[in-house]
């Protein structure tokens, strides 16, 4: 451990002892709420509150019309199916690409593949979806491929990073013993890699469901489309039918993934705070054998399921090759591209990202502290978080537009609320597994529940939580394109505009700048994360 100078870097540290201690770190980003709350009255366009009220009331009485129910269920099935297909393909492809881009496997050639994979990774699935839509028309395969491309690249990165971080002793021993290379790799690196990949894969399945819903909002099929249509036609009762169904599906999936993770004794998602982890299992030897059999069974069952889903959704891979004839395109106008207000676009994108990230990271612990004395409050917050991560950000944005003017802050609020749902759940889960004895000691000394949570649990969680927050900020930067539809949010809205008009010159330039920004953000977030975790 360092000697308490965690934040005391040059230029930061006050010379004296004014220094926020660890338990306060997770709360510091919440300071962004102050300017936001001050600005909100000016952003309100005055009307729409009655609509918000109607929307909230409709939550209690969703439409139970058989026609609505049938269409919601059909939409949900399509969304889940698309998510499943995209996820499975990306996992398979990602593992292969990950192995190929691991230095330990392929040496310097791996570096090249790694660089190449940065591009698909840096572009959000929505952009892939809309691009493919322009090229091959509306096909179920478009949504599947849109999820597969960036997800496979993300999985590949995690796999190759994990592989390169494994100790190489066993591999070298096998190589020295003359074992054939593929067998040596599989034997030495397979077993330690598997739990990591499966754990990450489970997390990606949850992401895939969110992405499939989002793609639907932009017309690529499934429940998302209906959510957007019912919201835009203000049919709130029908909207809530879809939302509750989606919530049920998402919670079920999260439970299933969590249960499998525990059953197969896999690491928690990001190893967030487990100083007093009590997940030790009695008989590791037998566990591994059982886990192997169950995994095999799951894989065997998954294949026919995937084929059936693909058949049911009429996914036709060949259709991806039948490109639509593009309308005759005007020659590129690079002068117009250069004349775009680049500095403002980039600045708006960054402001949007930072605002949303600070909002999400800081508000989660603040809410947790506020409700900690009341069990019902915790339940309420959990439901709100579930709704937050369930709703695609553009839907939240559309809802906010009922009362707020479009712009960067509205976009940031939408993205922030969505990510608050993701972060909040993670924080609550990790808080349950960390610092329990210290909290108990404080409670036993007459300390109130909030302060016991702050001192007892947050102090240990601060570093890993903020490290995860840094990762989340990176995700938010990528996602900032999806709230482009609320207007004037920087590169995102400009991109969507260029896409709808297929201004290919602008599109190419914007994508390039966006990708560069994303990769830069990824690098920065990685560094921050490593610093936080190394203490």
């Amino acid at each position: 451990m360092s000697t308490g100078t965690a934040l005391a870097e040059p230029g930061w540290a006050a010379p004296d002892r004014w220094r926020p201690a660890a338990p306060l770190w997770p709360l510091l980003p919440a300071l962004v709420l102050l300017p936001l709350l001050a600005l909100l009255p000016g952003l309100s366009h005055g009307g729409g509150w009655n609509l918000v009220g109607r929307f909230a009331l409709a939550a209690l009485r969703p439409s139970l019309d058989p026609l609505v129910l049938a269409s919601v269920l059909r939409g949900l099935a399509v969304t889940v199916g698309l998510a499943l297909l995209g996820w499975a393909l990306s996992l398979a492809l990602g593992v292969v690409l990950g192995v190929l881009s691991a230095r330990v496997v392929w040496g310097h050639r791996a570096e090249l593949i790694r660089r190449l994979l940065a591009l698909p990774r840096s572009i959000h699935e929505l952009l892939w979806g809309l691009l493919l839509l322009q090229l091959v028309g509306l096909q179920p395969a478009v949504a599947v491929l849109a999820i597969t491309i960036p997800f496979a690249a993300l999985v590949a990165r995690v796999v190759s990073d994990q592989l390169d971080a494994l100790p190489t002793g066993r591999l070298e021993a096998l190589r020295a013993a003359g074992v054939a290379e593929p067998a040596a790799l599989l034997t030495a690196l397979g077993p330690p890699l598997l739990p990591q990949v499966l754990s990450y894969g489970g997390y990606r399945l949850e992401c895939a469901l969110r992405s499939a819903t989002l793609l639907g909002v932009f017309g690529l099929g499934g429940l998302g489309t209906e959510l957007r249509l019912t919201l835009q036609s203000l049919a709130f009762e029908e909207l809530w039918t879809g939302l509750w169904a989606l919530l049920a599906a998402m919670l079920l999936l999260e439970r299933l993934v969590g249960w499998l993770r525990r059953r197969w004794t896999m690491p928690a998602r990001f190893g967030l705070g487990s100083d007093t982890g009590s997940t030790g299992s009695g008989t590791p030897g037998r566990e591994v054998g059982r886990r192997g059999r169950e995994l095999l069974l799951a894989a065997v069952l998954l294949l026919p399921l995937l084929v059936a889903v693909a058949w049911g959704l009429q996914v036709d891979p060949a259709s991806l090759l039948r490109w639509q004839p593009l309308p005759p395109l005007p020659p590129a106008d690079w002068a117009a591209v250069a004349a775009l207000p680049w500095p403002r676009l980039v600045a708006n994108t960054l402001v949007l990202t930072l605002l949303a990230a600070a909002l999400a990271v800081g508000t989660a612990p603040l809410l947790l502290l506020l409700v900690s004395p009341w069990p019902w409050g915790q339940g309420l917050v959990q439901v709100l978080w579930a709704l937050g991560r369930l709703w695609p950000p553009p839907l939240i944005a559309l809802l906010l537009l009922l009362v707020l003017k479009p712009g960067v802050i509205t976009g940031a609020l939408a993205l922030g609320l969505h990510n608050l749902g993701v972060l909040g759940r993670l924080l609550m889960e990790s808080a349950e597994h960390s610092g329990e004895s210290r909290e108990q000691a404080l409670l036993g000394a007459g300390c109130g529940p909030r302060l016991a949570l702050l001192y007892g649990r947050f102090s240990g969680l601060a570093r890993p939580y903020l490290a995860y927050g840094a990762y989340r900020a990176d995700v938010i930067l990528r996602e900032s394109v999806v709230v482009g539809l609320v207007g004037a949010t920087g590169l995102g809205s400009q991109l969507l505009e260029a896409l709808s008009g297929f201004a290919y010159d602008q599109l190419a330039a914007l994508m390039l700048v966006y990708a560069a920004l994303t990769l830069l953000g990824e690098e920065l977030s990685d560094r921050l994360r490593r610093r936080l975790l190394s203490g």
């Binding site: 451990m1 002892r17 004895s437 000691a441 036993g444 007459g446 302060l451």
Partner: protein
Amino acid sequence: MPAPCLLELEDIHVRGRGTPRLQAVSLRLRAGERVALLGPSGAGKSTLLAVANGLLVPDRGRVLWQGEPRARSARARRRQQARIGTLWQDLRLIEELSVQQNLNAGRLGQWGWPRAVLNLLLPLESEACARVLRRLDLDPALLDQPVAALSGGQRQRVALGRLLRQEPALLLADEPLASLDPRLAGELLALLLEEGDSPRALLLSLHRPDLLGGFDRVVGLRAGRVQFDRPLAALDPGLLAELYAGAAA
């Protein structure tokens, strides 16, 4: 006139898996009284201490604090709780905070939100904390150090310092000497038995009967029942032999 009764346990029962953990246990502690709790492993010492500090609610029986039953309202309950200090075997210090912030954690029961948060920005009450450290034979220069950087013996003292800051009327400790070498154990016991500014009752469970010198009373616990409860002077070796008879050490 005897000192007023601080803690009364009346006819306490705590169920366990199979055999009960505590059966019909009654115990009275007066202000300033120092009581050692003896018994073989599994006798129910830890359970009794958990009932005494309020973390475990017994299945049957009454717990009275200064003649009153446990408060219902959360606020009053916390006020009672703040008068009972516990020294944990695993210390339960907050590794990420400085020594001073850890010492002040003992005051959280009295402090409101603003001070508790301020303490995380700019550690408060340096004078009082330094006094506590000096009393524990520690260098006040340690106040700024993170707890994680301390040695085992120093950590032990900081945990005790947190209790001194809490100023409890009753101090509970579950086998505090178990994992210490003889020298440290002797020092810690002396610190625990030391007279504070105000009379402080002490209830301490011990594994070894050879450290009873400073206590007023000894309670023997076996299989969840009180086997004997008498002044130290009236304790004879036969009683101890009977208490540990047939039990694995």
